[in-house]
Amino acid sequence: MSAAVPAGSRQHRQRQIIGWVLFAVVVALIPFLIADTYSPTIFGNRYTFGLGNLSQAIGMMVAILGLNIATGYSGQLSLGHSFFVGSGAYLTAVLVNEFHWSYLSTLGVVVPGLFVFGVLFGIPALRIQGLYLGLLTFAVAAVFPSIIRLDEVKDRTGGSNGLLIESDLEAPTWAPLGTVTEWLHAIPGVGSRVPDGLTGRQEEVVYKYFLLVIVALVCFWLVRNILAGRVGRALVAIRDNPLGAAANGVNLAAYKTLSFGISAAVGGVAGTMLAMHSGFVGPDEFGFSMAILLIVGLIVGGAGTLHGAVVGGLAIQFVPVWSSQTQTLPGTDVALEGPYGTAILGGLLIIIIFALPGGAAHGFRRIKARLMPVAPQPPTG
């Protein structure tokens, strides 16, 4: 155990920079390691994880990030976040299919569109508080699939069958993904884990992954900046003590609607990302089961923290994938069949609330504080 490092000192800065560099290296290397699916055998069960799972998880992270703004930071229980995610996904799908836009340019419509939509949604939410709001948003989440299946919009949205999105995201020729893979493959020792070059389909998956990572990083960075300033302080004040916040001059109505607007806009981006990842949107993907899953992710990761969204997104993506591929109880011959993944997520949710109310992000922070203590410095002036 090392001695406490003063916050803001050179050592502390260095440590932060090392941390970020490590993070960047891991994020950049993963796609090449599992571009060819990664299939470990653990306790007699064979698993197949593809890079696609990770890309989907990244979309979920951004969805949770959006939910975090309304629920985690400003404390308004929203069980209907899937509605915004779904709207973003369908908006992207329709724009790409009918107007032949590129995926990323649809964000120019999705973000402002969903922001306005979230604000409009937030205005009635001002009058409806607490659990009543939770109920209403839950019902709204359940309505989304039936809106998509309406006869009037069926031609556009594909109804129950979902909608295949035409545009293929192909890796541009300037992106040296194949070359990088060959270089990595040439590294003696560890290089053998990396395939020798990429097939066209793999290249597309890897390219999509990097695109999603960049969009996600931009989202997290923007949200972090919004929340670190005046808006973030106002939202947290509203969550912790609405009366106190109002007495100190926070305009409750404006900030609550704003939080719904930002939350919906980020949710819409998540929808675009999910559409980008799978090239398909279906109505039941964005029903209330997704709304509940996002809440699970939010709580398991840690409500009111940005790191929590990352952990939560990984959890709600990989727990079901892992359990659906688990054929027998690890280490035994007992066969497992049925929705164990959902049960595990439910159990995880309850355990986290019991044992670690701040979520996984809080747990990591405590471990980090123990291993690498940082002494806070009073501001000098």
Binding site: G75, L77, P124, R127, I128, Q129, G130, L131, Y132, G134, L135, L136, F138, A139, V140, A142, V143, S146, I147, R149, L150, D151, L243, F288, I292, I295, V296, I299, E337, G338, P339, Y340, G341, T342, A343, L345, G346, G347, L348, L349, I350, I353, F354, P357
Partner: protein, 313 residues
Amino acid sequence: MVVLASVLGVFDITLDKLSNGELWLAQFFRGLSDGATYASVALALVMIYKSTGFINFAQGSLALLGVYLAYIFSVEQGLPVAVAVVCAMAASSVVAMFVERVFIRPFPPDHVLPLVIVTLGLLLIIDSAVGIVWGFRTRSLPSMFPSGAPIEWGIAQLTWRTIGNLGTVFAVVGLLYLLLSRTKVGLAFRAVSSNLESARLVGIRVGPTLGFGWALAAAIGTLGGALVVPDLLLEPSIMLRVLIFSLAAAALGGLDSLVGAVIGGLVVGLARNLLVTFLDLSELALATAVAVILVVLLVRPTGLFGSTRVERV
């Protein structure tokens, strides 16, 4: 006149449909029947909200478990359906008391959000446990009431099942009212729901009283499930759909009013059947329910009969 005609045209309303009295009556009866089932699960939700101040999202799942037990008792063990349902109600109350003791009581009762989240976790666990144990095959549970219709008027039939559903719900409300106003347990329950701290100070054992509330709510929910299932088929996701309509009913009536739950249930049931038929909105059954709640909540944020909570500054 032209405007009216065009409005009707948009919704594809034909005048002979509107003037078809039998269709009105048929949908009215169906709405009452559906409404009664929503009302019974809404009653269970309201019982929990009254005592603890939060919404038990696992209420539908507890009812689901109860209905599966009723299926086991009646179809597999050969008990008469009514007896099987009563046994299932008893069994599900035991489960609910266990759940309350283990998962709910450790939390401070004034922090609502963690408790709501715990019930969401329970929803996931119980629903998937039912799926794991009994699989996703659909089954049919016989109704507690005889088939056939005593009153027929063309296509409009007032079936025994509708009468039975309505009668059951009104009986449940009546019994609950008597229980809460005339018995000692009921008095304790009302004291706890009105002011937990003071109730504890005058010597009421708060924990067991809340456990009793949970047991009662689970029994009512199971009864509601047993009313719903004969119309649909029994499979693990069935109560989730009912839960949404029941949540709508409870929010509409006001989360802490028993009468409100029943009226809310009937309104949601009627709105669903009448609006959907006459406006031709078959996909929008749920959306109409949501629209009804939204409008009501905007005018009265605590529902039709809910009491306003006054905050002390």
